[in-house]
Symmetry: C2
Subunit: 160 residues, 2 copies
């Protein structure tokens, strides 16, 4: 069964991690990402967490082919509680300059800072940060049943 | 930093969930999957857990384009403990017939049943099941540092 639009929206607002798939010359490429939602858009910081050269891969891929996929999901031993949300979207690399004159990008950075208290102590969100801006084209969801809906709500309650 | 080959191997053996990315005509597509390892191969059951029509998407994609990506990763609030393993591979849909005459597929089904006790009570692994056989081409890993290595080992200890 599918999630209601209301649950999808709450999970997009509060679920802490997604998996981003981009398309490279040798096939699909995936990486876990943090992200935040502003209205209809999803944003992921390229410098969102300590890493090696991986950001370069996804940036290069998106510049060559904007179509991406984001996956939010929950796994646990009780398979009645499984769910996922899959987003097909078009991505763009946004490099705000100066004092984030771009209001849209400024809102995205504010949303990321509000969602992840880690940014207070970890100097991994550059000022201004490079962002991946994802415009969802299609959002699908699946959950195993009523237990999964209840579990998703319960997991959200635990989140800040 | 990267994981040692030994940790990668242990995680491929015991980590319970991966995200599979396939390539469709409209871009990358992702779905969470269960999987098991036999030697150099990774196997994911198409009927591995209750779902809707999603299996058809990945099967269709793999038949048209065998290149896939599998991502294993761990997220938690302490970003020093983050890690991921990304596998680029070639996939094939295997539909064993009769009494699993194919020794390779039979070993895969045995590995899946050994890894997931859920199959004892959930009738979601058909007999014989359709399997996705993934031959890894390239395995990369990333972890945030020593804490992430320790955390991965700790998480593995909790697993059956």
């Amino acid at each position: 069964m599918e999630f209601s639009p209301a649950i999808v929206e709450r999970l997009l607002d509060r679920w802490p991690v997604a998996r981003l798939a981009t398309l490279g010359p040798a096939g699909p490429h995936q990486v876990p990402v943090v992200f935040a939602r502003t209205g209809a858009l999803l944003w992921s910081p390229i410098d969102g967490k300590p890493k090696g050269t991986t950001e370069l891969v996804r940036v290069r891929h998106v510049r060559a082919n904007p179509r991406v996929s984001l996956l939010l999901d929950h796994y646990e031993e009780d398979w009645r509680c499984l769910w996922w949300i899959g987003i097909a979207g078009d991505a763009r690399v946004v490099q705000p300059v100066g004092a984030l004159a771009d209001a849209e990008a400024a809102a995205a950075v504010a949303a990321l800072r509000a969602k992840y208290p880690q940014y207070v102590s970890l100097p991994v969100l550059r000022e201004p940060p490079t962002l991946l801006r994802v415009e969802p084209i299609r959002v699908r969801s699946w959950c195993a049943g009523g237990e999964a809906v209840a579990r998703a709500s319960e997991l959200l309650e635990d989140r800040p």
